[in-house]
Amino acid sequence: MKFTQAGYRFKLGLAAAAAAFALVAGPAVAQQPIKIGAFLSVTGGAAFLGDPEQKTLELYVGKINDAGGVLGRKLQLVAYDSAGDAEKARTFAKRLIEQDKVDVIVGGSTTGETMAVVPLVEAAQIPFISLAGAVVIIEPVKKWVFKTPHTDRMACEKIFVDMQARKLSKIALISGNGGFDKSMRAQCLGVAKKYGIDVIADETYGDKDTDMTAQLTKIKNTAGVQAVLNAGFGAGPAIVTKNYRQIAISVPLYQSHGVASKAFIKLAGAAAEGVRLPAAALLIADNLPASDPQRSVVVNYEKEYESHFKSDVSTFGGHAYDGLMIAVDAIKKAGGTDKAKVRDAIEATHGYMGTGGLVNMSATDHLGLDLTAFRMLEVKGGDWTLVK
């Protein structure tokens, strides 16, 4: 697995150098590869996001090329590791645009990195599909910026809808101090009233903290708490879940889509039983009914990813898959790599069934997903199951 990655990268490095020379020499454009640029957090605190994203992009660029490429041209992936650092992301994005001269960018694992790159992309007028979560990426809509993952606001809404169905209205919020956590917490506080939810306790922890019993004890001792929502990402939620059971809080626990993975269950162990969260159907691919329109896409992706990389599929990798496919479809529809035409084609994406859900974009909606794209899942018997 590691060798394949190194092989890809080495080949890509050589190919990138060769392509750069070719461009400088200035021959006819016809059979040059289509360059997909990417900057991802493969190392650092968001490696959980960037690593499966990069693997997915490499895998599918290879598969598309094996099947003949796009419009008779090969795809070429130029990917850099921004390590979760917005400054590095900005420099690499500049490198992709100016030096590598890519045709479209799929990347930006975290919101911070994405937002740092937005001005560059708007100025350079190159289509950019972000793989980060916060709603601020597409609201307000920016002409050249799109995204594939569900927004944190949608996650809050999906959770609140489920809480309403269970007649839970007074809740406690606990979140970490990372960007994802803070953004989701703000969104949840913002939409709570709309769903009749009253947040009566609000605790925070440090992303690297090893113990949250202090905060959870405060929540346990707050009268009237009917449910707890952990708007978290990374290592924190697993520890929160374990501490939650340790001090025997009995009310329902909701996690965020940031930990929608089998890894979370492995980390939290038996404590994860009964935890609910909103997630893309990818997580329960095999358990979807045959009639589910998303079933074939997610099952195929899961099979390919798991057989190739021998590790559990990840919803973040799924977002990268969607981003790549939407970009490739748009290039096909636009008949070439003219950036403005590709942008228009991306914006006109309609009826695309991805791992994240059904995508219908428009001039005012550069995400294209609605609440049905999220499924409410619950941990039962050590695995994810669909609720209702």
């Binding site: 190392t43 850099y80 916060a134 960007g179 803070k182």
Partner: protein, 325 residues
């Protein structure tokens, strides 16, 4: 006249000016300009840090904190409160200088490891405050920053910024060299060799150390403010312990007690990650190995070690610190 040219001060400054003027011939696109600008900004911080570490013999593992305060101060005042960027820059620099003055007094009473840990703690606390107070600072996701404009003229685009940063770098080097040759500089070097000895001769160690600390904080803060306006965006990732380490490594690698060494260090260690981009899996290991290797094999840093090799032996005196620029 030729002798003056050969002196580190005028000769070196002239050489640097020539390099800055001619470099654009080698920079074929905006990405290269971008790297050059980042190098320049890092170099400005390193020159200040070098005064503290190399000449005054102190240490700071928290200088990214001052850089970050400069960046965020400018960002918040200019973007959130609508101040004119120049005013924001000056106000921020003043505030950081005051903070350095106030915090510097107790911190600089410490020596060696304790000083290192104190500056480390300071840097981390600054990082945590910036990261946590998201109402002002946008938290971990940061905030966008308006472009730098003076009297209606906005600094936009890599080429414009390159010349601005290049000019400021020359000013910084000139300031650094001047400081070293001045009585204050000589006092600092005396301090470095023996603090107690210097005090015996009548040098007020505490005052001088504090002054250098504030000056180095100011260099970092100005560079930070400019970086914020240039990038158009700030996040706390520039304020981390790791960034402080990178800065110290640049100074030590390039050459302690060598202003030009600081510039060289900034050049090498800013471009290294760009060159290693294809080997991202190994980047951390290589960086760590470079740090260890330099300290073991070139403990005085690159520039002084090279200077030693090239300089003819002097009769009756070691090529000591004061013969290096």
């Amino acid at each position: 006249m030729l002798a003056r040219l050969a002196s580190p001060r005028t000769g070196g400054l002239l050489a640097l000016a020539v390099v800055i003027a001619l470099l654009p011939l080698a920079l074929s696109n905006k990405y290269f300009y971008d790297v050059a600008i980042l190098v320049g900004l890092n170099a400005i911080v390193c020159i200040g840090l070098n005064l503290l570490i190399g000449y005054a013999g102190q240490i700071s593992l928290g200088h990214a904190g001052f850089f970050g305060l400069g960046a965020y101060g400018s960002a918040v005042l200019a973007s959130r409160y609508g101040w004119p960027p120049l005013a924001a820059l000056l106000a921020t620099t003043g505030a950081v200088a005051m903070l350095a003055y106030v915090v510097g007094r107790p911190i600089l009473r410490l020596r060696g490891h304790y000083l290192a840990m104190a500056t480390l703690g300071l840097g981390i606390i600054i990082f945590m405050i910036i990261s946590t107070e998201d109402k002002f600072t946008g938290g971990p996701d940061g905030i966008s920053v308006v472009p730098f404009s003076v009297a209606g003229f906005a600094l936009q685009g890599e080429r414009v910024w390159y010349w601005v940063v290049g000019a400021l770098l020359l000013v910084a080097v000139w300031l650094g060299l001047n400081l070293i040759e001045s009585p204050t500089g000589r006092a600092l070097r005396a301090l470095h060799s023996s603090e107690v000895g210097a005090e015996v001769v009548g040098i007020n160690a505490a005052e001088h150390k504090l002054m250098v600390f504030v000056v180095s904080a100011v260099f970092a803060s100005v560079a930070g403010s400019l970086a914020a306006h240039y990038s158009g965006f700030v996040t706390p990732s520039k304020v981390t312990f790791l960034h402080s380490i990178e800065l110290v490594t640049m100074v030590v690698f390039g050459g302690l007690a060598s202003t030009f060494g600081a510039v060289v260090g900034a050049v090498v260690l800013t471009t290294l990650p760009q060159l290693l981009a294809a080997f991202e899996d190994y980047e951390m290991m290589v960086f760590g190995a470079v740090m260890i290797g330099t300290m073991i094999f070139l403990p005085r840093g690159v520039v002084p070690s090279l200077a030693r090799l090239l300089r003819p032996r002097r009769a009756g005196g070691a090529a000591g610190k004061d013969s290096l620029a």
